[in-house]
Amino acid sequence: MEAPAKALAKEQPKLIVSIGPHVHDVESTAKIMWTVSAALLPAVIMSVIYFGMPAIMVILVCLLTSLAAEAGMQWLLKKPITLTDGSAFLTGLLLALNLPANAPLYIPFIGSVVAIMIAKQLFGGLGYNIFNPALVGRAFVLISFAKIMTTFVAPATTFMALDAKTTATPLVLLKEEGISKLLEIYHTKALLYRDLFLGNRAGSLGETSVIALLLGAAFLLAKRYITWHIPIPFIATVGILTWIFGGKDGLMTGDPILHMMSGGLILGAFFMATDYVTGPSVRSAQVVFGICAGILTTLIRLKGGYPEGVMFAILLMNCFAPLLDRGMRSRVFGKAEAKGVKK
């Protein structure tokens, strides 16, 4: 858009000519992406505290592979290489936080490659992908290596290695054995909630520590990088529905708090359902998006064959995002009135 300034009078300085506006807001794509990554730092730290070295390895492999895949694919397609915009970095990070710490390293590798190359670049790169790359990556490896991906280990006692003993995630236990089993392990609800809140439980790297995630989320909300329109309805819907239908003994006997804090809900709702690119951008559509995602999550958790539904819920809603945006675009200023006027 810049045109070389042609100075007429000699004493005049070279003037830059461009079409307005000539001032710009401070935000930039790079800043947003990197800041969101920064907001995930608490969760990263917690995951390292709980799962130690293996966690670090998974995260590193994801980040490096993602960046390499992005650069490589852009090079192949002869596009400018845009690693500084931070979106590939963020994708890698989020994928890592979605994997179990005990995953052998080829899983984060394959996951990242699929996420960036197939889910993102094949569709035209940043801004054009239909599905959440990180989640596509995760779903892909989940299906391909379901056995590994559905066996979790308890937080490690030593830094360098994980204890071999595998334990089921709270949700699996809840689904398989019921709340009683959970209480057997955690003794009291208070303790159960506390451990969920702090993240002392089996699960994917990033999903375990509710408090860490909420910290990051609060930061992003404050900076207006994400808004309430998707996450809050999402989480609330899950809470309400699980409270109504989640109980083994009749309606209204479910445990909403447990459901809201377990699984990938907090991570998914605040950091993944909020992905600009793959969600609707009309605010009202975002609320619907959130509610539907909540319904699907609950449906899968309670009725589906799989203990955790957040990932599939978000992916399913990604399909509908364009439709929602299309159907719910707000009425243009004065369009209604325009009908009255004859031209």
Partner: protein, 210 residues
């Protein structure tokens, strides 16, 4: 098309130039559905090959005999007949496979590829060209299915034609529904790329017809 093209070209055309799956993008359903293994792909391809050839031949033979007004129904009926035959045979002699893909065998009757060849080619040509065209198209279809089959079975099961080659199952997803679509998309794109790279093709994937 007319008879003055040599039979050889006619055959090659069916296999490559106008490959029913990758070029004409006709009859995609079975191409994705039954290619989780090489063997299934082959048998499906064989079935289609049989029906295509027989239908082409029959139609060509009867071309002066059938009144244009009722030709489409007649072609459909003829196809249906041959499909019934192959369906019966398979269900008797290939029971295991038939369990998996019987539905698609029966659905051969609905493949536009067959009807369109009958309508576009066989009804206008003599016996021999029609036969060759049928075989060409059929083989093209068969090869396409086997290519996908190899791709998917190897990745998904680590085996080829049931024979285990790799110790484990590298990428299970390859043999699941989603894998089918991925494989199809990636192979198509790959072929387009080769075409553009080495044969100066224009390479946007075909239109999409049954």
């Amino acid at each position: 098309m007319s008879n003055n093209v040599s039979l050889g070209t006619l055959f090659k055309n069916g296999v490559f130039g106008e490959n029913p799956v990758f070029r004409l993008a006709l009859s995609l359903c079975p191409a994705v559905a039954v290619t989780s293994g090489v063997k299934n792909g082959f048998l499906m391809g064989a079935a289609v090959l049989f029906v295509m050839t027989m239908t082409n031949v029959t139609v060509s033979l009867l071309r002066n005999f059938i009144n244009p007004k009722v030709r489409i129904p007649s072609y459909v009926f003829i196809t249906a007949t041959w499909v019934t035959v192959i369906d019966q045979v398979m269900s008797a002699y290939q029971r295991a496979v038939y369990k998996e893909m019987g539905l698609y065998i029966m659905l051969i009757v609905a493949f536009a590829i067959i009807l369109s060849r009958a309508e576009m080619f066989a009804s206008k040509n003599k016996l021999l060209p029609s036969f060759v065209d049928g075989v060409g198209m059929g083989v093209g279809f068969l090869l396409a299915l086997m290519l996908l089959g190899v791709f998917r079975e190897f990745l998904g099961k680590g085996s080829l034609w049931g024979a285990q080659i790799l110790p484990g199952k590298p990428l299970l997803i390859a043999i699941m529904p989603t894998g089918g679509f991925f494989a199809m998309g990636l192979v198509m794109g790959w072929l387009n790329w080769i075409d553009r790279k080495f044969f100066g093709g224009t390479g946007g994937g075909g239109g999409g017809h049954h």
